[in-house]
Symmetry: C2
Subunit: 462 residues, 2 copies
Amino acid sequence: MVEDKILNTIKKHNLIENGDNVLVGVSGGPDSMALLYALLSIQTEISFSLYIAHVNHGVRGREADEDEKFVEKISGKLGIPFYSKKIDMEGYAREHKLSSEDAGRRLRYKFFREVLLSINGGKIAVAHNKNDQAETLIMRFFRGTGLDGLKGMEYRNGDIIRPLLDISRNEIEDYILEKNINTRLDRTNLENIYNRNKIRLELIPYIVDNFNPNIVDTLWRTSRTMSNDSEFLEEFSKERYRELVKVEDKNSIILCRQKFSREHIAIKQRIIRHSIYNLTGTLDGISEIHVRNVLELFERGDTGKSVDLPNRLEVKTSYDDLIFRIKNLNVNNNYKYSLKRGQATYVKEWNSIFKMEVYPMEKIQLNFKDRFIKYFDYDKIKGEIYIRNRRLGDTIQPFGMSGNKKLKDLFIDKKIPIDEREKIPILVDKNDIIWVVGLRTSEKYKITPYTKNVLVIKYKNL
Amino acid sequence: MVEDKILNTIKKHNLIENGDNVLVGVSGGPDSMALLYALLSIQTEISFSLYIAHVNHGVRGREADEDEKFVEKISGKLGIPFYSKKIDMEGYAREHKLSSEDAGRRLRYKFFREVLLSINGGKIAVAHNKNDQAETLIMRFFRGTGLDGLKGMEYRNGDIIRPLLDISRNEIEDYILEKNINTRLDRTNLENIYNRNKIRLELIPYIVDNFNPNIVDTLWRTSRTMSNDSEFLEEFSKERYRELVKVEDKNSIILCRQKFSREHIAIKQRIIRHSIYNLTGTLDGISEIHVRNVLELFERGDTGKSVDLPNRLEVKTSYDDLIFRIKNLNVNNNYKYSLKRGQATYVKEWNSIFKMEVYPMEKIQLNFKDRFIKYFDYDKIKGEIYIRNRRLGDTIQPFGMSGNKKLKDLFIDKKIPIDEREKIPILVDKNDIIWVVGLRTSEKYKITPYTKNVLVIKYKNL
């Protein structure tokens, strides 16, 4: 029953397809253990590969180590590849002035993505359930997020999937009991995330007693209708953005002021956010007030006045132009290094070393698990091989995909901030991109059963 | 300061214009007394007429009578016309199976509209403030309303205006103290409206202590952004509706199925609501589930299947048509009566009597306060005068307006249910509508300084 519901969710939202790599984040607690076993059962319906990642948050010493051992043992028993990492959540939080919750989340996803890179890409499955969704909505409601916050967590957001979003905590508990699944007590939730806990343990029971016994289901429905409305407004605004944009390059976006002024305020605000996101690769640190300031500037339209935003972004108006521009972006920082067989090349802009070798297929043992080694079909390479940073108009056929993708869009999808975009090394031959380091390899150069000679690139970050 | 803020709100949202009639609902409590005095002060900036309406809810016997006397006395002192009515809120609630709150609201607005009719139309000013707005948002959030609920109460909704929506309860209390305004304790709020009270007295203080000390301001901002998004989606959906609609008559609406199927689900749901509202004049009793059922019917598209909705509305599909139809609506109930000078005419469909007289201007004392007498410029009348019900294509130039308005749209704006629309008597001459009884008189026939002869219509509901 629970497994059927999860399978339904997966199919309805197209979360997992045949051939996918799915990396499950497993803490050892009931939610993630239920997710793991449900996904195992679903492998009979959809053929995908499972991987397990465990993060040791570095709090509660011995207990955390035991959690890690527990998950590792389960992985071994199930024959599923296991990856783990110890992180210093509290230290990172102090250093970057974040809440423990935010620090933990950032470090977790950073690790998950590292693992994904080493398994040639895939999806990260996390165990958020219906009750988590309700808690999220309440927290966001109190914080004052609008429509786009109250849609809640999404079934799918980039490479993150949430197959349990339609399943309540009670259903998970029943499933754990029914299947006799061993779990560890997930103390992290109880200790660190103060606000969420107050909502779970005090506020929701109060709402249930006084206002709405089905509050969790009610808020789940709210998230669904909000999600529909938000999706439409996003799509519509992006369409309008494309009609408004006059210039869109590395360090600036220029919109047509006349056309902008004709839009509804709900659309104007989204076009502003969209412009900021496209240019800087993030909306972190952008609050409602920033957007309002930009909007006021655009509506007054004083030529010469400007508004400063985070990430060195400057917004100004000039006659018929609305201008977003990154200040002090050195656009003359192009670099290019030639790679030679058997030689190591130091790329100072990325502080890393690339070593290139070529072997006949029968002479080499491929190790796809080592994420610092990449293999390509050498006979498909044309001309010399270089490491360089991005150029205007770069495209790649990403591994596993049939069409080409603009590098710019890849950066946007992967949420790469603007400064990083200028530095990321790209492996190219005469014609094409072979590998965007840290992000994607190309479908065109992949190893196949017909590969005769293998290009081996060893990569080391200093 | 408070008065300036209120004046700002009024100007920004265009709530009151020169020449308006503004009827203030005054309970005698701090909010409505503050509203009354603030509006008085604003009369120096905008020239409008004030009227006071007080509703005696018929609970708490003697105390309620004293409230009424208190407001009457203030009205007298200020020289403002005073209207009051005793209603049986609890009886009406029992009879119509409503909460006391809903019953009270319905009866109050019914009375306010009766008064408006007698003063030749105008606006109803109510004293909802920023804190009321926050409470409303929380209640609706717990109930699971989407975007269109979380926009909260509007500054202006039809003929209702809310000049205090930007003012907090604290600001009102300070204003009352500063101006030394006498008020009565508004016990009704404390006694009857259980949910709102729990939110005011328990929940908001808890949120302030634990999550957000500025929750009232935060939710006020939420209501603003939600309102923007909702407004855009409504406007956009209405546009789409107009492109989808093939037939729109008295008892049916037919949409083009092919075009409908291409819309986003967020827009589809709004088009369905819009169709229901246009046809029946109300969305009361229409829940999310009704809309979802209609949507599923439309998406499956089984010709011949149908969904029944409240207000005798039936929805079905037929080949390329999506059909909304009122069942058993007698469309052959047209009526028409000729009015004769000096004679009384009984209109059985409205159970009322109309008496027509004509006087030279100098022979008559006009009494605009008597809402059962209407005056028109007799020399502008062409041909005979009739009382009839609506006909296809009827339009009117409403009093105070320069353009014509479809009668259908007037009914929709005034939220007249479909059955009423068939019955409402309309005074016409050969060419035009003179008066839609109970709703609007025509600009064309109004009394002016040049009027020589006056058409007097006396109206009595039996």
